[in-house]
Symmetry: C2
Subunit: 392 residues, 2 copies
């Protein structure tokens, strides 16, 4: 039997997703990061500040208190107790609740965005995204849409004037925006642009998917785009991955009731969100763990970001937007990002080649992360990166 080769299989019909799906550069970066000394690639939160003890206690509590009930099938839409606590948390984050809004629990923001892509698109939709955008959340949108319009990003976020130009020419299904601590660009969306964006959505009849994972670990941000929305056009997506731990795979989104209802039914297709993990996150919210961590994490990552920026400038790598929050800084290396990536790996430092985050341009861009390394290692990483840029 072992001799039979797969070459004997005639070519199967597979879907466009099956044909076109590919390894994301972030996954490549993560895999590379495991083999190098210094990891400036990963978007996983800093293990040193992960609340492992609190999470462990929460599992103990939940399994002791609820037993089998916490281990049944999750059902669609989320556990009642977590939906309630997540609403309180959204309120804490400053997300305004409109009449008719519903909240749906997901297996992290990525899962929420996959479901929303499946809801809006079936291979022939038209969407707009920031240029650059986050390549992982973009993957389901790309694979399920027919036309993607890249809209420029500057230091104040998405260029709404450019978006209007697109919206005037074609009927968009939705616009995907990361308004705060942008991944990979590090920028925040300016307040007046949020208002303009919502006005455009109304005028040209499209939805806005607002992906806002970093609000959970940032302070001093403006309003969510959603707060300007009076028509149920903005879908607010969040996660507990940054403030608690990504390995729990728990997040949520808030949308008008029609979308929320349909997408929660779509969760019957995968039933992927662990019941016990939902109980654990609910418990941690009741104990105010995510709420109490916000300010400290903002400081923690902000400090590391300042070290990164200072070191980059000291080393003559000065072409970047100054991030106000989050993990990421987008550096223009003025060299081929692919070659810099390879030279960096030779020096045992991993960064993410940011070219695939761009639908246009980006050939010299690198995404640097302050998420997992400490200050000393960030400095050393930049020193090696400088050499890599020179060698590239």
């Amino acid at each position: 039997m072992g001799n039979t080769s797969y070459f004997s299989l005639r070519t199967a019909m597979v879907s466009r997703i099956g044909r076109e799906v590919e390894l994301s550069p972030v996954e490549l970066g993560s895999q590379t990061a495991k083999r190098v000394e210094i990891n400036l690639a990963s978007g996983s939160p800093d293990p040193r500040v992960m609340p492992v003890k609190e999470i462990k206690e929460a599992y103990d509590y939940v399994l002791e208190e609820f037993g089998p009930k916490a281990l049944f099938y999750p059902g669609a839409g989320g556990q009642e107790v977590l939906v309630k606590e997540a609403w309180n948390y959204a309120d804490f984050l400053g997300v305004k609740r409109r009449a008719g809004d519903s909240l749906v629990i997901t297996s992290g923001a990525q899962h929420g965005i996959e479901l929303l892509s499946l809801y809006f698109l079936d291979g022939n939709g038209k969407i707009a995204v920031e240029n650059p955008t986050f390549v992982e959340t973009f993957q389901p949108m790309k694979l399920l849409s027919s036309v993607v319009f890249p809209v420029s990003l500057d230091s104040r976020g998405i260029r709404v004037d450019e978006l209007e130009f697109v919206a005037r020419l074609t009927k968009l299904d939705f616009v995907y925006v990361i308004p705060n601590c942008h991944n990979p660009a590090g920028v925040n969306l300016a307040e007046e642009r949020k208002k303009e964006l919502v006005e455009l959505a109304s005028k040209y009849d499209f939805y806005v998917i607002e992906d806002d994972p970093y609000r959970t670990i940032a302070c001093g941000l403006g309003e969510p785009i959603k707060n300007y929305d009076r028509e149920g056009r903005v879908i607010y997506v969040s996660t507990f991955s940054k403030v608690l731990a990504p390995g729990l795979r728990v997040g949520f989104f808030i949308a008008n009731e029609e979308i929320a209802h349909k997408v929660s039914l779509m969760e019957q297709m995968d039933f992927s969100t662990s019941t016990v993990n939902q109980y654990v996150v609910a418990r941690l919210l009741q104990q105010r763990v995510p709420q109490d961590r916000r300010g400290g994490l903002y400081e923690h990552y902000g400090r590391k970001m300042r070290v990164l920026m200072d070191e980059l400038r000291d080393r003559g790598l000065t072409d970047f937007n100054e991030p106000k929050c989050g993990f990421f800084l987008l550096l223009d290396s003025h060299k081929s990002s692919r070659r810099v990536f390879e030279e960096a790996v030779k020096r045992s430092v991993s960064v993410v080649d940011a070219k695939p985050f761009f639908l246009r341009g980006g050939e010299t861009m690198l995404r640097l992360s302050v998420a997992v390394e400490n200050e000393e290692r960030i400095k050393e990483g930049v020193r090696r990166l400088r050499e890599a840029v020179e060698a590239a």
Copy 2:
């Protein structure tokens, strides 16, 4: 703001999935089950035999031993340690490993089947399923295919002669089969039909998705269909939901390397399988918890099934196939299944109206489950069901 109605929204374009998704009768049954005294509806394993203590200890161990590492992003395809243990477990289950086979960790079997549906189908595929089939796993297939052929099921499983009739007429993408302890029909697929099925797959160039969740809690079964496959045409899907707990959301499938590779990349679209839960299941496998539970669970559910069958016969409800294993028995009530369901709820007992499991017929069929109730309550449930049938 609260006055603005959603009626002001123009009709958005949504995908076929977004339009057509609906509440499954199993979800309806589960929701109903929460409001009644006796639950003969649920497919969740018996809480009385769920290994809550072992699961709790495994979380303690994993978070103590691995800390943040168990809480990072899961990556695509599954944690290495679990992939290794799941292979050993597949071997324990009697699943033969072919050269070129790969194993992919999923968020339960449902998630695996959703991903496989997305891999093979994009709205225009042709598939065949058993009539009846499991309505929940069927949902993604239905929403992503263009033509579904129902193939009759008898007491020896899918009618392979009927399947050949279909395969001769049209090019199928895949056939979806639940070979053991069928949900909802309770039957097992006969050994010679497995061989014939694999021969048909080769002759007519289609894949077979073998959904085999109950093998984990059943003994004395024949070979997996996959063991007859020499060409990599059978995809074997399993889960830890029945033998451990569904709330962990961990399962796996085994396929040829091309399919396994592509589908594991597709997991980048949702990243839904909790990292810590993967470590927990790996730990429980190392401790042989699922392996050691198999025989006892087979006995446990078998005993309850015999009580159900005896009581049904005593009450004159005799029209069913005798299940050899699993949770489910399919009863022909000879009355409208919808009306019997309603009459049963009036008597505070929940069953599942099995009509939606059928693509043809099934108007008088009920799915009864022995999963969660004890023997006394099963008897009482049947007593009330008898009244419901009479009243319907």
